[in-house]
């Protein structure tokens, strides 16, 4: 076999072999993503049928162009948002919790500040709990977005609020062909495919404490149709209370 691979007369075989290696690498790459375990301080809700306020989802979905630019896609983003909301509603039903959707017209400034804060805190949690920047003195999982979170209950009477951050990329057809071609021509060089990054926090509205958190970074998964979105949500909401 070695003879065949290195004999230039057998170029086609050589090419097939390279292609095989590339696909193998693709496969390995898609498995070696940044995957995390959920963190939580409660496993069951304090009361029966709690009300969970679903905050506006911070979501952006883009399509990778041939060269790898991330072209934001409005319709995918809107569909995915709907799919996630639908899937989450379904998920809560099984856990005996009720979902309340946020009304954007109320208190817009406060809302935006809380969303911005959650995005920052969420990234910090990922760095600290899953990444390299673990604070040596922080042993337990104890994070909060602050007591001001309870201001949300000026307009609602929810027990918890769920914050969700979602970024996803999908390769365009040109990108896929380009990736395969590049992989064949330059073994070892694999243009990056789409990546999905998500994290979600369940916040206790009494004190702003994050009582459950999960996040991941991976190169597979889809939310553009309901079935795939359901699978993605099952992964993201592992060990969700209830």
């Amino acid at each position: 076999m070695v003879y065949y691979i290195y004999n230039s007369k057998y170029k086609l075989f050589n090419l097939m072999y390279r292609t095989f290696i590339i696909f193998l690498l693709f496969f390995i790459c898609s498995c070696a993503s940044f995957n995390t375990e959920p963190k939580y301080t409660i496993q069951t809700f304090d009361k029966n049928n709690p009300e969970i306020l679903l905050m506006p989802i911070d979501i952006e979905i883009c399509e990778l162009t041939l060269a790898g630019l991330c072209e934001p896609n409005a319709i995918w983003t809107e569909n995915s948002r709907e799919n996630i909301i639908y899937g989450f509603k379904d998920l809560l039903k099984k856990r005996n919790a009720n979902l309340v959707k946020f009304n954007k017209d109320l208190d817009n400034d406060l809302l935006v500040q809380l969303l911005k804060l959650h995005t920052q805190v969420g990234h910090e949690i990922i760095n600290n709990e899953y990444g390299q920047y673990k604070m040596p003195t922080k042993e337990k999982f104890s994070w909060s977005i602050g007591k001001k979170a309870n201001l949300l209950n000026r307009n609602y009477t929810s027990d918890y609020a769920l914050f969700l951050y979602f970024r996803d990329q999908y390769s365009s057809d040109e990108r896929v062909i380009y990736s395969i071609l590049t992989a064949i021509l330059f073994p070892g060089v694999i243009p990056i495919g789409g990546r999905q990054m998500a994290f979600a926090s369940l916040v206790d509205l009494k004190n702003g404490d994050i009582i459950w958190f999960n996040g991941y970074y991976r190169s597979f998964g889809d939310v553009r149709d309901r079935e795939s979105a359901k699978k993605t949500l099952n992964k993201l909401f592992e060990q969700f209370p209830g």
Partner: protein, 386 residues
């Protein structure tokens, strides 16, 4: 085998959604037009709408109803795209303004400070509105996409063709890309200039003020250590060319009003002047640069005392003995121009204390207390007098 790859290559070229020429046939956006949800433009808008939501509550934003209203009114006198564009002010002490594809216009305080009158500010706002009307963000995105696609394909093409020294050719294409990019963006700037000037003239402002904005920026930069103009000017047409274009454009109008409306602008930014001036000094540019900016801010004879005072502040804040002497002289000049301006007495008094000229220092500080009996720091200053 090569043939097979070439077929692949051609297939990719054909499957590109964007023609490799980039964005040649992007039409003007209409007032109150919104992109269709499936368009590329809708994606850009979505991203910028999210950004705008965050910017609204940014700590750097200057939230002032008067200032917002002033800028909005100015925008509406300049263009019919009044409902499509929102102007935000960010407290950043540099000259800058930009336009997002979704109609979010951002103006930095460094620009408001430097604009000598409403006509100059209108030139910038009209120019930025021009970017919106001509959909330059979308054009820039399509161009960037086509360029990077071409680069990616060339890199494959060269490998397939087995061009010797393909590496260096790759570099050449990169250089070409940069050149094309600068040219495209210069074309966009020229278009925006044209729209901005038209708007300026129609609204009755003095068109000669438009190039002065750029001349002043160039002068300011030339006074600095790095004599090169700022990066954004590399992608803008040079001022001389701009002036020439302007002259030709003004010929199209038989009767031109030449209002400048200096007072309006100065009145609206007056509450912020002290803060913005301090920020300008903190940027710590070369003294000559900051002095040049201040000479434009206070270019009225009745403002001479403020010019002298803030020049003194530039020198004092450099914290250097020689410069302290210069500051003392400037504070004295300020007092000569206006005997009732308390701040000059305070800074002069405090500097004289440092120079051990205690008697004169106390006399100046006393004057400060007399002139500003309700100032926050009056008790501290009194303790110095004792």
């Amino acid at each position: 085998m090569k043939k097979l790859l070439l077929i692949f290559f051609i297939f990719i070229l054909n499957s590109c959604q964007t023609p490799l020429g980039g964005a040649k046939d992007v039409e003007n956006i209409d007032p109150e037009e919104r992109p269709g949800i499936e368009s590329i433009e809708a994606g850009l808008w979505m991203q910028m709408n999210n950004y705008e939501e965050q910017l609204k509550t940014s700590g750097s934003r200057v939230k002032d109803k008067n200032l917002d209203k002033y800028l909005k009114d100015l925008l509406c006198t300049l263009t019919v795209y009044c409902k499509d564009i929102r102007v935000y002010v960010l407290d950043i002490p540099y000259f800058n303004a930009f336009m997002a594809p979704n109609g979010m216009m951002v103006v930095w305080t460094g620009l408001l400070l430097r604009a000598e009158n409403e006509a100059q500010l209108s030139a910038v706002i009209g120019h930025e509105a021009g970017h919106y009307i001509r959909r330059h963000s979308l054009k820039a995105w399509l161009d960037a996409k086509a360029r990077t696609d071409l680069m990616a394909l060339l890199s494959i093409g060269l490998a397939v063709g087995g061009v010797p020294g393909g590496g260096s050719i790759f570099n050449v294409t990169q250089l070409l890309q940069v050149g094309i990019m600068a040219k495209h963006s210069r074309d966009n700037e020229r278009e925006a200039d044209e729209i901005g000037l038209d708007a300026l003239i129609k609204a009755g402002y003095d068109p000669d003020e438009a190039p002065k904005v750029w001349e002043n920026i160039i002068k300011e930069m030339e006074l600095g250590e790095n004599k090169k103009p700022p990066a954004f000017l590399a992608s803008h047409p040079n001022p001389k060319e701009r002036i020439k274009n302007l002259e030709q454009q003004t010929k199209r109008y038989s009767k031109i009003e030449r209002k400048k409306n200096k007072e309006n602008l100065k009145k609206i930014i007056h509450p912020y002047l002290k803060k913005w001036i301090r920020n300008e000094i903190r940027v710590n540019n070369k003294i000559e640069q900051t002095e040049f900016v201040f000479s434009k801010v206070f270019n009225d004879t009745n403002n001479l005392y403020l010019l002298k005072f803030y020049q003194g502040e530039i020198y004092r804040l450099k914290k250097d003995e020689e410069k302290n002497k210069k500051a003392i002289k400037l504070y004295r000049d300020s007092i000569k121009e206006n005997k009732d301006f308390p701040d000059a007495y305070r800074e002069l008094g405090l500097l004289l204390l440092k120079e051990n000229k205690n008697n004169e220092a106390k006399e100046k500080l006393k004057k400060y207390v007399d002139l500003a009996p309700n100032a926050k720091d009056v008790e501290i200053v009194k303790s110095y007098i004792k």
